[in-house]
Subunit: 386 residues, 2 copies
DNA sequence: GACGAAAATGAAAACGTTTACATTTTTGGT
DNA sequence: ACCAAAAATGTAAACGTTTTCATTTTCGTC
């Protein structure tokens, strides 16, 4: 029965060809028994267990995960769909995901959609039968719509809040984009700025949308100064050029994310515009590197690894406790971090305060920027939630 | 036969329960036929193909990847084993991997070992039967030894060169650590430094080892000043403290990687040591963010995404063309990028050269350090005396 | 129209596991 | 020792595909 060419080799060498049958034969038992010792299932005698273990060792047998998944109907793998792999944002998300999935002995299979809905769909199809659940960051509403059809029967957690049409809702977890943008804008207003330009994110991006709304809400009747952007460094650079042409010139720029803020900073520097003396600059995300810029950048700290970790936790819960619970949207708190790039406007357009005017939020601290792991941390201010 | 509870649902809704059998039944054909149209295999009539396609559409059937892998004996997935997920290095590697694997319609399953050999081993075992090949960055020699036993029969490419004992060699691809360190050290010597401290990487790390050798080779008879480090920011910080206590004080610090250079920069800044006036500072890797530091950091540019891409290419080649070829080690060229953090020592200890002395290694390119994708860049300084 | 070849389809085995169930062995009470 | 019950082990079906091989259908040719 089941004759397959066997090679007698150095036992330490894993030969992919060895199956549970080979082990069974070597130990003189049935495959069922081998399976039982493998899974620690009850009825198995010490003596035979020994024999089996020995055979496993001898043959350097490693169970075939694929076959196991098939019959157990669980892959212990979760799929991650991201727009791309640029910048620190995504690696931090993955880190958070990894942190909790590894505890539960799950693996991660990651794929980048590059913003194309059709490749996203292809990846989703390819993942069927290879994952127990999905974590998805859909880059825009369009894609979200395309995907949601495929995602009905498999547990999924989105990394941003999107309302499907007709209230078909999924689990989602996101940072408080609206509250963060609100807080930052209020902070800028508070230290005396009036003409605050906002550099938007890409159309259809739900995070970008929420940030814009936060800005608008805070600005109220004060004239809005909105410039198009795309969350990329180069987009920020271009946006800065537009801002500088505005008449009268804004005294502060609030970038929809840090990457754009970096581009903006470059543009300003090139043109000899000083930050924060001539223009204040703020970002959003607080990616680790911005504290090392000069001037260090004020931003909204988003708990990115926690975002990933939270998503993983929710997903695993849903997977493991048969999906009875109804979907919920969770929002993570953010933190306003004032650094050197924001200061009261040079020539107060309003007699609001002296040069030493303190922001309503705590003052920017001279920040000697260290990563969490090590030294001194900047002081933060909590944003007021709406 | 094969009675399974069927639900009549919105056809657009993917029901994980639908199998090829359901499609076959709906189209009034055998599962073999369905399989054939699915895979575009020759003998199938236009009319029945239609029927089958219709049924597939109707039931929103998606083939089960796991089952397919099992019988085809290919998973179209490759595994990636990394030490951790901190910093830009790893996401860039993954980006490179993704770029080429996606073209070949392969997926990526990533796992972090966190430097623990036993969890690395567990992950490898879990991957058996779920991947067609592996890309591994083994954090140290010890781990490498532990893993190599498991990796005999499955194609694998290492992201660093390690000599197994007894010449058991694997495919590997790496950047030219030795050459880069050599060049940077020579460059520092060339602009007049004599006391150049080197901050080492973790013991047992092969990249760190090679960089150290490069430094040593360049220094020749000049006294070596080596300080322990661990490739982390905080490690750099601590190393800087030690360096500052050296007597006489070094005029330049060459950090084994950029992360440590950042930590060093913080430490120097805190203590009021000016860079490059008091001490020159150089890193290794040229991760994107260092060009934004002030002063912008001189470093060795390593083609990180290309590293990933190259690994993927080699691996896929090996997978697809039955592994006849013998393992080879590939080394990617690096580039010295001189920026503002390095300059000739303030008080030349030797009348070695004029102010304009060029390094023996290729001259630093005036680098406007563009990210591949784009745009705006800060202006960089060519190393020269102020 | 019948015949054979070619084309299309179907039946069943296979991939490497787990597990329900059947069977054998052990055990303990008498 | 013997018998039933309990414990250990074995048999075979199942997971959802692909593919070989056998079978049926189609078609052109005489």
């Amino acid at each position: 029965m089941n004759v397959r060419p066997k090679v007698a080799r150095d036992p330490k060498v894993t030969d992919d060809g060895v199956t549970i049958h080979d082990v069974a034969r070597a130990a003189n038992v049935s495959i069922a028994t081998v399976s039982r010792v493998l899974n620690g299932n009850p009825p198995v005698t010490g003596k035979t267990r020994e024999r089996v273990l020995e055979a496993i060792q001898e043959l350097a047998y490693v169970p075939h995960g694929g076959a196991r998944s098939l019959i157990k109907r669980e892959t212990r793998t979760i799929g991650v769909l991201l727009p791309d792999m640029h910048g620190e944002f995504f690696s931090e998300v993955i880190r958070g995901l990894d942190q909790v999935t590894r505890q539960h002995h799950y693996s991660l299979i990651v794929a980048c959609t590059h913003g194309e809905a059709e490749s996203a769909e292809a990846m989703l199809r390819a993942m069927h039968g290879k994952v127990d659940g999905l974590v998805v960051l859909s880059s825009d509403l369009e894609m979200h719509a395309a995907l949601s059809n495929l995602l009905r029967r498999i547990p999924v957690v989105f990394l941003n809040h999107v309302q499907g049409p007709g209230g078909d809702e999924f689990d989602s977890i996101s940072v408080d984009n609206h509250g963060g943008a609100l807080a930052m804008t209020q902070y800028l207003l508070g230290i005396g700025h009036e003409r605050i330009a906002f550099v938007k994110g890409p159309d259809g991006n739900s995070d970008a949308e929420a940030r814009l709304q936060g800005y608008r809400e805070a600005m109220g009747k004060v004239p809005h100064l909105e410039v198009a952007g795309d969350f990329s460094e180069s987009g920020g650079y271009r946006a800065a050029c537009k801002v500088l042409q505005m008449e009268p010139r804004p005294t502060a720029i609030f970038a929809g994310n840090d990457a754009m803020a970096i581009g903006i900073l470059c543009a300003l520097r090139e043109r000899g515009v000083r930050v924060p003396e001539d223009i204040s600059l703020a970002g959003f995300d607080d990616i680790p590197m911005i504290r090392y810029l000069s001037p260090s950048l004020s931003s909204i700290r988003t708990p990115i690894p926690e975002l990933g970790a939270g998503a993983a936790e929710r997903l695993l819960m849903r997977i493991e406790s048969g999906e009875a619970i109804r979907p919920m949207q969770q929002t993570l708190e953010v933190l306003l971090v004032a650094r050197a790039s924001t200061a009261p406007p040079a020539a107060p357009s309003r007699a609001a305060g002296s040069e030493k005017t303190e922001p309503r939020a705590k003052p920017a601290t001279p920040d000697n920027g260290a990563k969490p792991s090590a030294p001194p941390l900047p002081t933060h201010t909590k944003p007021r939630r709406k």
